[in-house]
């Protein structure tokens, strides 16, 4: 009975995806092909090799998930649930377990339900989005990409050069501004980032901008002073516009391992992160950390970065993501 439910889930998923034949899906699939090949390939391989669902089977499955950078706790949780499910349904055939695995993965994603992947954009007036994260993850690039997205939706966009510390950071944002046709509000290198934000908000107000994208310097989450500085930046925004920042986006590098969880936790504590952008998913890193973060911190992933160009940003869609991981299996349900 449950088996058929599961089939319908994949059928549904497949229908949904084949219907959206737009380039977005293609791009997403392309970007994830590496992930998909290695991950689902391994799962298939595993299933094919085992004739019985036993301890060894689970151990190997555990290893596959760990290799995908899924947090260890999440893996254990998943394996435990799988074991229970297998026992409950009296599953003997590894082939069947494969469906349960997919089911559980989707379930974990859905645990963060209620938080939409959509950005909280104000109907009226200015929307302020603050970008935070550790060094080199892709904050500035993501701002460039999002600036492009909003611009092409016909919105009036401004960018704030809040990284006054790193060499060339202001110029980097300016190049992005030029590229996508958006003005950048800046001060000299070394000036107070909170003051830059103050300026930018005034500029955004007087120019009646729809969106203000605020860049900040990369900082490691264990640098207390730098985290305090970030809190201050956020406070200035809050003070100038009630309800702002409307989104605080934490950018995470998909190649990062277990530390990404601590990053998410610490940045959430300091700035009340409302969403995540998972960058560099076009590499071979599995991005499995998303599971752990959804599961443990309930922060939704809003976008994924799939390259260095301005349109290499896609909205995160849990179903598509799982589809990406299990494409081979979905194809089999034909």
């Amino acid at each position: 009975m449950l088996g058929s439910e599961n089939m319908s889930f994949f059928k549904k998923l497949k229908e949904k995806i084949s219907k959206s034949t737009d380039t977005v899906t293609e791009k997403f699939k392309d970007g994830l092909s590496k992930t998909r090949d290695s991950f689902s390939g391994k799962v298939n391989d595993l299933v094919a090799r085992y004739r019985k669902v036993d301890e060894d089977f689970f151990e190997e499955l555990e290893e596959i998930l760990i290799q995908a950078d899924v947090g260890f706790d999440t893996v254990m949780k998943l394996i435990d649930e799988l074991k229970m499910e297998v026992k409950r349904r009296n599953i003997q055939d590894p082939q069947e377990v494969q469906s349960v695995i997919s089911e559980k993965l989707v379930e974990i994603y859905d645990a963060g339900e209620g938080q939409s992947a959509k950005l909280n954009i104000q109907e009226e007036g200015l929307t302020v989005i603050l970008f935070v994260g550790v060094n080199g993850v892709g904050k500035t690039t993501t701002i460039g990409k999002l600036g492009h997205k909003f611009k092409s939706e016909g919105k009036k966009v401004l960018m704030a050069a809040g990284d006054t510390f790193r060499a060339g950071a202001i110029e980097q944002l300016e190049v992005w501004g030029e590229r996508v046709g958006v003005d950048v509000i800046k001060q000299a290198e070394g000036s107070d980032p909170a003051a830059v934000m103050f300026d930018a908000i005034q500029a955004a107000k007087s120019r009646k901008a729809d969106i203000l994208l605020c860049d900040t310097a990369g900082r490691l989450q264990n640098k207390v002073n730098l985290m305090k500085e970030l809190e201050k930046v956020k406070r200035v925004i809050e003070r100038e516009i009630p309800g702002a920042p409307h989104e605080v986006i934490l950018v995470l590098d998909a190649t990062t391992g277990q530390n990404a969880l601590i990053q998410a936790k610490t940045f959430k504590e300091a700035t009340n992160v409302s969403g995540i952008v998972l960058s560099k998913l076009d590499g071979t890193a599995k991005g499995g950390i998303v599971l752990a973060i959804r599961n443990e911190l309930k922060i939704p992933v809003k976008f994924v970065g799939l390259g260095e160009k301005m349109d290499d940003l896609q909205e995160f869609d849990a179903e598509k993501y799982v589809y990406g991981l299990f494409a081979d299996q979905v194809d089999k349900t034909d």
Partner: protein, 450 residues
């Protein structure tokens, strides 16, 4: 979410064994499971972990552990030794060509820290080796990459060679070397663009630069926070380019840095330097034994000791150590120590180097917030000598008085006392382990209290 170190992890098993007095193979297996988990949580690649655990098991199942009275420590000792061995010796030497200029190529994934490390290396070459490097801006792709290197060059007063972003990186490298010869620069540091190891076009570009410039060093710059994928990245760059060294950046964070082990294991290439900050002087030689304790979650105590030695009165430190050993450390000593700790610099940096510190929640906050240290000092100062030496005598009435005297709440007084007790317990554990370790044929335990 703070990860447990190996010592903490082994605690349970050790407790069990202690009762039995004898260690079975099953116990060893259980301990190996903990070793495995500790390494996985530290982001060591799972395959590397597998090989490693196998090796350690073989040693452990032998009589060494089974006959030992302190199996937990023996396991930690073996793990630590094997880890350190795997990571190789200290090799922070930089090649010097006998036909200058010596060419160093910096390669790696996007955002790893290549440009920053290029600047840092040039400073090291000038300061420590009295060399005259030329920096080469060969990243024509990333927005303002050239500007970034030029800004660093200006900060360091280091020459930067650039041909803008319309000339191919290969051509830039070629002309840079000619320029270096002409102007008698003995080192040429080529900052290349970040790229994915699976990006064939861009990897070919690196091969072309290599072909043309015949670099003496090719350094792979890797983010210390990298997860399981580190092996793929390192292996691929190594196979395609033949690396001569690795630089591990952002180690000033709180990552365990298991990637170091993975990279070393798959490439057999030495990790030469580590990046410990964004500033240009934050580059240090790689210390395998420190990295080993860090991966095991034992804290980077050696660095802490070095820092402390540079700042703390030697005599006082000795006294303190003695007190810790004999567990006669009082609140008064604590007060004095707080004063010294303040002199050590940013507290958060220090804290993360302390073994077990992440386990003591309250202590965490207490140490990090400078204002709170002031509060703690005020509370201790409001105690009588008898109370400081013997906090057990603190009843409700005394606590009330102390709270009033220091302008803090009774809750805060209680919290401090609790923290102090936790800290003492931690010290006891540490010194206990160390002394037992000493008795057992004189092995040096990976950490030493201060």
């Amino acid at each position: 979410m703070a990860f447990e170190g190996l010592a903490d992890r082994l605690q349970n098993t050790i407790q069990k064994i202690r009762g039995k007095g004898k260690v079975s193979e099953a116990d060893v297996k259980e301990m190996m499971r903990e070793v495995r988990l500790a390494l996985l949580e530290a982001d060591v690649n799972f395959k590397v972990v597998k090989d490693f655990v196998k090796k350690v098991s073989e040693r452990a199942v032998g009589q060494e552990v089974l006959q030992s009275l302190t199996p937990g420590q023996q396991i930690i000792k073996i793990v630590n030794e094997e880890l350190t061995a795997l990571m190789g010796g200290e090799q922070s030497i930089i090649a010097a060509s006998n036909r200058p200029p010596t060419v160093i190529m910096m390669v790696g994934l996007q955002g790893a820290g290549k440009t920053t490390t290029t600047g840092k290396l040039s400073l090291l070459l000038r300061k420590k080796y009295n060399r005259s490097p030329l920096l080469v801006a060969a990243d024509i792709y990333r927005p303002a990459a050239i500007k970034q290197l030029q800004t660093l060059g200006k900060q360091l007063d280091m020459p930067v060679f650039s041909l803008g972003d319309q000339v191919s990186p290969v051509e830039i490298a070629k002309q840079a070397i000619a320029k270096a010869k002409e102007e008698h620069h003995d080192y040429v540091l080529i900052d290349t663009a970040g790229r994915l190891h699976v990006d064939e076009t861009l990897m070919d570009e690196l091969k072309d630069i290599k072909e043309l410039t015949k670099p003496d060093e090719i350094f792979l710059v890797v983010d210390a926070m990298t997860g399981q994928d580190a092996v793929n990245v390192a292996q691929s760059f190594n196979e395609q380019l033949g690396l001569t060294g690795v630089v591990l950046t952002k180690l000033d964070g709180d990552t365990r840095g298991g990637a170091a082990l993975s990279i070393r294991a798959v490439t057999q290439t030495p990790i030469k330097f580590v990046g410990l900050g964004e500033k240009m002087d934050a580059l240090e030689p790689f210390h395998p034994e420190r990295m080993a304790s860090r991966i095991l979650g034992m804290g980077d105590v050696l660095t802490l000791i070095e820092k402390a030695q540079a700042n703390v009165d030697e005599q006082k430190a000795k006294e303190l150590e003695q007190k810790m050993r004999t567990a006669t450390f009082t609140l008064d000593d604590f007060l004095e120590q707080l004063g010294q700790v303040r002199n050590l610099g940013p507290l958060d940096e220090l804290l993360k180097m302390m073994p077990g510190a992440n386990k003591i929640k309250g202590l965490n906050n207490l140490q990090i917030d400078e204002k709170q240290i002031g509060h703690v000092e005020a509370i201790i100062r409001s105690m009588t000598m008898a109370e400081k030496n013997n906090p057990e005598i603190l009843n409700a009435k005394r606590k009330n008085r102390i709270a009033k005297g220091s302008g803090r709440s009774v809750t805060e007084v209680n919290r401090l006392l609790k923290q102090f007790e936790d800290m003492k317990k931690m010290m006891k554990q540490m010194t206990g382990m160390q002394q037992k370790g000493k008795k057992k044929g004189g092995f040096k335990f990976p950490f030493k209290p201060f």
